[in-house]
């Protein structure tokens, strides 16, 4: 379980990273917490790796009036430790605390997690729920892609060849924001079997319920979100049907897990 032979260099600037990334079979490495195992299993066989973990521009944290913007190389532990300003009622700090265990969180980064796009990971679902927008940067310049359009399937994203995630902009919610997050997993520190997440902000007339850890990208339950905003806990009666209709191919156990994760998340906001 040793990787193939490869070169490594740490990029000091984003431009430097992009230049190196133009080479054949070059990959970027951020925290290495997903890439490392894939290298060791030789599922990834790069000729060179470009390190982003210490690239200053990717470590920036900005607190502007409408949004908090974090560089791709901000680590899970920094969210957990409250070093990132809070855009939405403490949700990100809470979620960060439940990712893996501390050793992984001290290295793993938000950008790496999003780029990896594991359906069972926490940030893809959380940032979909928070309606975050990613800034992607390539040789041709940068573009903004909302989280809802970024993850296209399991381990598949809108990133083009030679492009990296530069930063993630998370809209700030109002004082009235409430959120729920429930992750069903085998044991502490494991990836999810099912995730239920929601953000409700009456002040901004925002309500989004998301089903995570499916076979693909997190699913925004639009109709159900509208009903929930209108009816509150009463909407729960239609939850099982919503889940079944959204996951027509899922087995009964998986359906139940998703339903329960969503119900428990919703009950954090609307105790019934």
């Amino acid at each position: 379980m040793k990787p193939v032979d490869f070169d490594y260099s740490a990029a000091e600037t984003v431009d430097e990273a992009l230049t190196q990334l133009s080479g054949a079979d070059v990959k970027v490495m951020s925290g290495g917490q997903s890439l490392g195992p894939m290298l060791n299993l030789r599922l990834v066989r790069p000729s060179a790796l470009v390190g982003l973990a210490a690239t200053a521009a990717l470590r920036r944290i900005e607190d502007a009036s409408g949004a908090v913007t974090v560089g791709a190389a901000v680590r899970h532990a920094e969210f957990e430790d409250g070093k990132v300003p809070d855009p939405a009622g403490g949700m990100m700090q809470y979620v960060a605390r439940g990712i893996a265990h501390r050793a992984v969180r001290t290295r793993g980064t938000i950008g790496g997690s999003l780029a990896h796009a594991d359906p069972a990971a926490d940030w893809v679902t959380t940032l979909t729920t928070l309606d975050a927008v990613l800034t992607l940067r390539g040789a041709a310049g940068s573009r903004d892609v909302p989280m809802t359009g970024f993850m296209q399937g399991a381990f598949t994203t809108a990133l083009r060849d030679g492009e990296i995630i530069e930063s993630i902009r998370i809209p700030k919610r109002s004082e009235s924001v409430r959120w729920g997050y429930y992750k069903i997993c085998r044991k502490v520190g494991e990836f999810a079997e099912a995730i239920g997440a929601l953000v409700v902000d009456p002040g901004q007339r925002y309500c989004r319920v998301v089903m995570g850890a499916t076979d693909g990208a997190p699913v925004v339950l639009d109709d159900f979100s509208r009903r929930l905003a209108a009816e509150g806990a009463a909407a729960l009666s239609g939850l099982a049907d919503t889940v079944r209709a959204t996951l027509p191919d899922a087995n009964p156990v998986s359906l139940r897990q998703h339903e329960v994760a969503l119900r428990r998340a919703i009950q954090q906001v609307y105790p019934s």
């Binding site: 379980m1 032979d5 044991k187 502490v188 990836f191 156990v253 139940r256």
Partner: protein, 784 residues
């Protein structure tokens, strides 16, 4: 009790180096010119090798079976009639029989480069249908793992109790099918071996991470055709074994062969992926059971069929039949009943060869019989604890010979159950259960009681027809000129603290200071032959041998001391780190110095045997001393998710005289954690093609700190009448009971839901699936 002697909670001698990271494991050994070995392993479960191509230019870095001329396959035959032979080649010859089987050995200066070479080896393998499920494997139309056998049965055995009459008359009949998952053992340190040629000694030196160094020397000698005197096996620090390291591994033969033929150092260090795939070699049983009982749930008889998915080959020296022999023999457990019929099937499958894992078969049989006891109790409408207590062999019946002829030597089994119930406050739990949990989860309580044959010796192993039968265990003790004590024993310490506990035994017999004792274990060049560390035998056997040798050394010390102090031998006492006669005292150093350096002080008729003693030992009755134990679990089951939380857990154990109660607790807790893994988490599933589905630790879930409750410990000390100091084994027991206790607790929690789990690990998915099925059944009944 001597200070720091038997019964003291002495801090372990081993801990200092391990806590400072100064232990020395195989992979810590550096050597000039060392080459790393990587294996090209089979990616298919079953196939015929049509060709192996060495990569161009790298021919001298790749070795296949064709290169290993003169190397014999691993041959581990049982003497039990009907046993079928498997030739387990170090590198595959005509066929591959499991994913992970070694095909080619590749060498390079580093492991990464060796893996590059291994990848480049060309393989032409015709894939054959795989034998995956052990029940399917028994069918006449199954593909064959070993073509020449005609079926897939290593061995079948039968105990033919007269169950048919009972079946006609017994008021209560309970039948169940039960399954236990296949597992890996996951010692923190995987396997590892480093070998080189020592020109000065004229020896092949093999550092290997093993529990059984002397047996490995014997095994290497047989497979390599090299005299045992030309082989030295040294076990360095070993980071856990659990049985995985008590058999001769193909990789050990390969690396030793390289060093023997190339006269250079080579090493292979197992990685987790190799362990997870090629090492998934334990625990997988299937049970078909029918129990007969009276109206109160008193067990009258048991009819059993046990199928073990043994994997592709018979391992040396424990063979492919140990598991089933243990299963058939131990299934009746701690219970008093007299009618037993049991058929066992040791089935060859296209999976890694079964290796005895901590508890050997007994976690499975304990799970099986304990679930049956609870099922009977539910059937007759009584509390499982009461039914269990009534069925246990009672203290007044001791010693008791059970229906399979196992001789239970001592103890009070029902008392262990009562104590465990007290530790978890079963009455309180029942009350809490009746009032319901605020969070809606369901509470359940479960027990599991077992006996554990430990340190079973010559007669038992001979009856299993195993190639190496343990006899007298030997130990050497030697007083040095400065009055310190050296202990040498051929057994090895693999984490169980033998350096400490063997010292405590010597301290007890010799009154010498604990810090004055040094222990050397396992090195075949300096220790007496031992079959090694397995079967919970270390303390009883090596401890007994150290006791014997120390008693004899004490006699010799007293003679010299009597002469030096000019007193009678009878008046000499060894205690508190010195030698006394009345008020007069001398030191151990005085005696050592007199013998080695100042012999002119000694009389002419001095005992010429000196101050070094080797003694052999086995218990008076060598069919094993029986430890017993009850575990109690309180669980909360979340019916919506199938998640199980262990709210409380108690272990009550009787391993006879405890040499070091702290180490006993450590063994029990560590074992119980592994048992929790067996009960709830760990499994190596296979698909229909024999592909292992858990090849990383993401897929194979081990219990972590969060999943393990603080355990409550209770002890009974009933000394065995047969062993030195009444000691019984304790190394394995902790791992045996958790699946029974935990699944009984889950079933107790879910009994009103019409759910009964019969398969481990009891994962949330399995629990949820059972609950959903029960819901659907209720719904359809309501409609009807």
């Amino acid at each position: 009790m001597a200070k720091d002697g038997i019964g003291a909670r002495v801090i372990r001698k081993e801990d200092e180096r391990h806590l400072h990271g100064r232990g020395r494991f195989v992979s810590d050994i550096a050597m000039p010119g060392l080459s790393d070995v990587a294996f090209r392993r089979s990616a298919v479960a079953h196939g015929r090798i049509r060709g192996i191509t060495k990569p161009a230019g790298l021919e001298d870095r790749v070795f296949t079976a064709a290169d290993l001329t003169g190397v014999n396959p691993i041959l581990a035959n049982s003497g039990i009639p009907g046993f079928k032979t498997s030739n387990y080649p170090a590198l595959a010859t005509d066929k591959v029989r499991f994913v992970g089987e070694c095909i080619a050995m590749c060498i390079a200066p580093t492991r990464a480069e060796a893996e590059d070479v291994a990848e480049a080896v060309g393989l032409d393998i015709e894939e054959l249908p795989a034998v995956v499920d052990s029940l399917d494997a028994r069918r006449p139309d199954s593909p064959l793992v070993h073509d020449e056998w005609g079926d897939n049965l290593f061995l079948t055995t039968a105990v033919n109790g007269d169950i048919d009459d009972l079946a006609k008359t017994a008021p209560v009949k309970v039948s169940r099918e039960l399954n236990t998952g296949r597992q890996c053992m996951h010692p923190m340190e995987g396997k590892g071996v480093l070998a080189y040629w020592d020109f000065q000694a004229g020896q092949l030196v093999v550092y290997t991470s093993t529990q059984v160094p002397h047996m490995i020397r014997t095994g290497l000698s047989e497979t390599l055709g090299l005299d045992q005197a030309k082989i030295r096996v040294i076990p360095p620090d070993v980071g856990g074994g659990f049985g995985y390291k008590c058999v001769l591994q193909p990789e050990e033969i390969c690396v030793a062969w390289l060093a023997m033929t190339r006269r250079r150092p080579f090493r292979w260090i197992e990685d987790r992926r190799e362990h997870l795939t090629a090492g998934a070699n334990s625990r997988e049983h299937h049970y078909k059971l029918t129990a007969y009982a009276d109206e109160r749930g008193r067990l009258l008889g048991l009819d059993a069929e046990v199928t073990v998915s043994v994997g592709a080959y018979s391992v040396w020296p424990f063979t492919a039949c140990l598991e089933a022999a243990q299963a058939g023999g131990n299934l009746p457990g701690p219970y008093d009943f007299r009618v037993y019929r049991c058929k066992t099937f040791s089935v060859a499958t296209n999976k890694p060869p079964f290796t005895p894992y901590r508890g050997v078969a007994r976690p499975g049989v304990c799970f099986a019989i304990e679930l049956m006891i609870d099922a009977i109790a539910r059937e007759v409408g009584r509390d499982p604890m009461d039914v269990r207590a009534e069925n246990l062999v009672q203290a007044a019946q001791m010693p008791y010979t059970n229906v399979t002829g196992k001789h239970y030597d001592s103890g009070d089994y029902p008392e262990s159950l009562r104590m465990a119930a007290g530790l978890i406050d079963v009455a309180g739990v029942r009350k809490r259960q009746a009032s319901g949990e605020p969070d809606g989860r369901r509470i359940g309580v479960g027990f599991s009681t077992f006996t554990e044959q430990s340190a079973h010796g010559t007669k038992v192993f001979a009856s299993w027809g195993i190639p190496l039968v343990p006899g007298y265990e030997q130990a050497t003790v030697r007083l040095t000129p400065d009055g310190s004590l050296e202990i040498r024993a051929g057994i090895h310490t693999i984490g169980q603290g033998l350096e400490t506990t063997l010292s405590q035994v010597a301290v007890e017999e010799l009154g010498i200071a604990f810090d004055a004792v040094r222990v050397t274990l396992g090195d075949t060049a300096s220790t007496p032959y031992s079959t090694g560390a397995y079967a919970s035998r270390g303390m009883v056997m090596a401890g007994g041998a150290v006791s014997r040798a120390s008693i004899e050394l004490a006699r010799r010390i007293r003679r010299i001391a009597a002469h030096l102090m000019q007193c009678s031998e009878d008046s000499v006492e060894l205690k508190d780190g010195a030698i006394y006669s009345g008020k007069a005292s001398i030191s151990f150093a005085d005696v050592g110095k007199a013998w080695y350096l100042r012999p002119e002080q000694l009389p002419d008729n001095v005992d010429t045997m000196g101050l070094e003693v080797t003694e052999g030992y086995k218990p008076k009755v060598d069919s094993g001393v029986f430890t017993y134990s009850t575990h109690a679990a309180v669980v909360a089951v979340d019916e919506d998710t199938g998640q199980v939380e262990l709210l409380d857990y108690a272990v009550v154990d009787d391993c006879g005289r405890m040499v070091n109660p702290m180490i006993v607790d450590g063994q029990l807790i560590g074992g119980a954690v592994q048992g929790i893994g067996t009960a709830l988490f760990e499994e190596s599933p296979y698909d229909v093609h024999g592909q292992p589905l858990a090849s990383t630790l993401q897929d194979y879930t081990l219990p972590g700190a969060f999943e393990v409750p603080r355990m409550k410990m209770g002890h009974i000390e009933s000394p065995s009448p047969y062993s030195a100091h009444g000691m019984k084994g304790v190394g394995e027991g902790g791992a045996i009971a958790p699946p029974g206790a935990i699944v009984n607790a889950i079933n107790d929690a879910l009994k009103d839901r019409g759910v009964e789990l019969t398969r481990i690990p009891a994962t949330p998915e399995r629990i949820l699936e059972a609950l959903i099925r029960a819901e659907e059944k209720t719904a359809s009944e309501a409609v009807a």
